[in-house]
Amino acid sequence: MHLIHLTPFDLALAALLVLALVPLSLRLRLEIARPLLIAALRTTVQLLLVGLVLKAVFANVHLLWIGAISLLMLLLAGREVMARQRRRLAGWWGFGVGTLSMFVSSFAVTLLALIVVIGPQPWYQPQYAIPLLGMLLGNTMNGIAIAMDRLTQEAWQQRAVIEGRLMLGQDWSRAIGDIRRDSMRGGLIPIINAMAAAGIVSLPGMMTGQILAGSPPVEAVKYQILIMFLIAAGTGFGTVGAVWAGSWRLFDERQRLRLDRLRP
């Protein structure tokens, strides 16, 4: 199938649409003109850089390169999870819980998909490995960030309830059980909604991108289904792991609620 190449002029035309929002924002005093322009600029620069990096990596297929890029993606995603929490765990835990959970879930699911399901040669073929890991990390990051934010926020607000349950002789896990379940559900709702609405309300971005780039629609759909399942699994395991580890950290060895382990 023929791929229509986009020129810088085509992209500039699309950018004009974003610029058209600026006078509207100023007129309605929405105060989003500046963040909108900065975000648009960041999108352009970041994606162009990624494009260049991927071009280089695709040209030199080497496990070390893939590993380095994956590690960088993981660290950036971990930082993002931490930054999105209003009351995060203090110290290394704030970064470590989210990052480690993402590492275990996203990397494990990506490896499984690469080696068992897709089977490219070599298995770390960047054309498959990097987009897969990127989509998994991005979605797992969202799920974990939502779940951890809810966990820490609810623990802070429901201190009396948690301690009330401890006072009645419940163990820490039961005392924070309701909050933990709510947090896990909160982290999983976006992917459940995305799966439920896929194809009816929205055409997923990856599938649309593949079709635009010339792939047969049925192939694009199959990849999209695969990605949805992988994202659901990665987000599910990552969220459950992060929330469990985060809630464990909120108690000490005497099962006291330690809100002093959260940043105020």
Partner: protein
């Protein structure tokens, strides 16, 4: 501070707000980290699993917490006899928690705590939101429980007259220290 509590004994503690009364109870219940040592029957708290410790050393906070929708969701067994003793009808078990008055919450929280049959009761202003009749009922129920289970009680209250009625010994927080109150020989009900 050094405080001994015998079986069936009731120690009253008073003092100005912010003096550390609640902190003392929380430390004994092992809810806050502390540097002191608390022993029950000669065994330090740190040697007892935390959940088990808090079932044996029960703390009734000044403001109780509720998590289920109905009162019944917070009880393991049927507390019907206790409900009557505290002036509450059996139907109270089906009441929605969000509709409970502060006084009803306080009385129900006491019943909920007694379900564990704690060996030590730590009471933080247990009758602060009750009228005279409610106060009498709570005092009578706790006195009966003390007698029946030989439970030791630490009763924190601002009401000196109440402590004189219920406590076998009384202390006051003064400048961060626990000192014997003026009339240690107050009768115990």
């Amino acid at each position: 501070m050094n405080l001994d509590l015998g079986p069936g004994e009731c120690v009253g503690v008073s003092g100005p707000s912010g003096a550390g009364k609640t902190l003392l109870l929380r430390a004994i219940a092992d809810l806050d980290p502390h540097e002191g040592e608390v022993l029950l029957d000669g065994v330090p708290a740190r040697r007892v699993p935390p959940a088990q410790w808090r079932r044996r050393v029960g703390l009734l906070p000044a403001e109780s917490a509720w998590w289920g929708e109905r009162v019944r969701d917070h009880f393991r067994d049927d507390p019907a006899p206790g409900l009557g003793r505290l002036g509450l009808p059996p139907a109270a078990l089906d009441w929605e928690v969000r509709r409970l008055s502060t006084g009803e919450r306080q009385r129900l929280a006491l019943l909920r705590l007694l379900e564990n049959r704690p060996q030590v009761l730590l009471l933080d202003e247990p009758t602060a939101n009750l009228d005279a009749a409610g106060r009498e009922r709570v005092e009578a129920l706790i006195a009966e429980y003390r007698g029946e289970c030989a439970a030791g009680v630490i009763w924190v209250a601002h009401d000196a007259a109440q402590l004189a009625r219920v406590a076998t010994r009384r202390f006051r927080f003064e400048d961060g220290r626990l000192v014997a109150a003026a009339d240690p020989a107050a009768p115990c009900t």
